[in-house]
Amino acid sequence: MTDWMVWPIFITQLVALILVVVNPPLKRWGISPRIIVMGILLAICVAIAASLYHDSTDALNLYF
């Protein structure tokens, strides 16, 4: 994972949060939003573990 790929994690988390709050009726496809969100959160745990070699000696230079 490169540095900028930290941001897709946040976007995915935003999607998960929207799914939790909106709770869309996806049950007709045989899968509930709760299971999808749990899958997303588990995938993010794996992504965090896969990004451990990041170095913190450099800042990302994010200026707002």
């Binding site: 930290v6 709770n23 588990l42 745990c45 965090i48 990041h54 170095d55 913190s56 000696t57 800042a59």
Partner: protein
């Protein structure tokens, strides 16, 4: 009597969820304050720790949305563990430097605070799983 005890434990878990959510919100807001107003730019490891905190927050919101479930607490435990690994990685990265990375807050660096908060989240979720009201 047993029913009342179970109801009490369920209330305790919900109250704990809300307290934890407020704590996570406070942590994330203070990180943003440090970043935007104190001009302390985050490193990739800091962002991964924030991602772990957000993961914990979403799992706690799931507790409120879909009722209290063991699987949600398991996600909290997993995310706290991942965040803990990242913060330990960062602590060890700067363990030999005198200044560390960034300005210390109340005597500790932000990654050390993160390690402490992840430990609290881990122990707290273990306690919540210990008193989890069983439903047969």
């Amino acid at each position: 009597m047993k029913k009342r005890l179970l109801a009490f434990f369920e209330t305790v878990e919900l109250v704990d969820t809300i307290i934890a959510l407020v704590g996570i919100g406070f942590i994330l807001l203070s990180a943003l304050y440090e970043q935007i107003f104190q001009h302390e730019q985050p490193c990739p490891l800091c962002l991964l720790q924030r991602a772990a905190f957000i993961n914990i927050g979403i799992a706690l919101i799931m507790n409120l949305r879909y009722r209290n479930k063991v699987a949600h607490w398991a996600i909290v435990v997993l995310s706290a563990f991942m965040g803990m690994i990242v913060s330990i990685r960062q602590i060890l990265l700067h363990i030999t430097s005198i200044e560390g990375y960034g300005n210390p807050v109340f005597g500790l660096h932000l990654y050390t605070w993160c390690f402490l908060f992840f430990s609290i989240a881990l122990v707290g979720s273990a306690i919540m799983l210990l008193i989890y009201p069983e439903r047969s």
